[in-house]
Amino acid sequence: VKCRKCGGPAALELRRHNAAFCATDFMEFFRNQVREAIRKHRMFTRDERVLVAVSGGKDSLALWDVLLDEGYDTTGLYLDLGIFDYSVESHAKCEAFAARRGARLIVSRVADEVGGPVPVIKQVTRRPPCSGCGLSKRYLMNRVALEHGLPVVATGHNLDDEAATLFGSVMHWQMDALPRQSPALASTHPKLVRRVKPLYRLSERETAAYAFVRKIDYIVEECPFAKGATSIAHKQILDRMEDASPGAKHNFLFGFLEKARPAFQRAEAVVLQECVRCGQVTTGTVCAFCKLADQVKRAAVGAAPASER
């Protein structure tokens, strides 16, 4: 197989584009896709400071790498979930990347903010670990951005992530989730920052290849809680559809964004107010994060020996 651009030996075939690239020309393809995403959805400008949420995985570090190379003013945010060795290692990868690139990294510990790390949240709530983990991450990303005066948070969600989320939402007809699925969500409240996904046009395989070619040291091991997660089951189903019909994921996601999404948008907008406890945005009186933190702290008090209460 030959590179579409230079005719040299190809390093990567992109079946959904019916194309192949050598490593050098693939880098340019990748950067162009990110540029197109930022431009098309007006994700951020060169004058804006961008908070890049990094996990130590290939997607978020690849995203940070591209944005740094493109000259954007970025700050990294690592949320320490407290998931045993997995978090220790992923934190180290983020610190090493930031040091190598001379970039600023903010670290926030879920255990400090919620009262316990993700494994404790899982025990206390008796819900799938991804549930409390996702809630905590979304909340902390927004709050850290506000605290540091950054108007936008960028995450490393790729085409496969977005297609799998859409698949899950459609399977359960989650009418509230469908209109919210977008590569860019505008700030609809002074205390809600813009959220953008500049890698939504790139597949998981493409971000992995980018990270490999750029020699980015990322964590390949899986999150110990990922096993059995519904999102992974959905990805595996979509992988088989993609194998049978290249471009299936792309058509599913882009068809939704271009044609179907407007039909799910509701006439009445959700009313946002400020949580009476923490002041962050919520649709209720006390936000879901504060309720979660209460639940975890109560459990911690209940579990402590009587002498410490």
Binding site: A209, F212, E222, I232, A233, Q236, E242, P246
Partner: protein, 84 residues
């Protein structure tokens, strides 16, 4: 002599017969080509590349926190509880 294949999550090694193309090895291992990067040394290689008998390749899953998808069914979804 054979091709050494490094698999991840969990990390393990298998040996397969060489002198054939990457895609034939992937088929033998029941791995969907689009779910892995094929790495030989410092390079990515495409599915049509010929593997020699003393090659070592790594098949690195591309799914965030996952392993390579198989072509056969091993998918289990968790039942979704209805909210009261």
């Amino acid at each position: 002599v054979s091709v050494k294949v490094v698999l991840r999550n969990p990390r393990r090694e298998v040996e397969v017969a060489g002198n054939r193309r990457v895609k034939e090895v992937l088929r033998e291992l029941d791995i969907l080509p689009e779910t892995v990067l094929v790495i030989r040394g410092d390079d990515l290689v495409t599915a049509d590349q010929l593997l020699r008998d003393d090659d070592t390749i790594e098949l690195r899953p591309v799914m965030s926190g996952g392993s390579a998808s198989r072509s056969t069914s091993d998918v289990r979804g968790e039942p979704v509880k209805e909210r009261a």
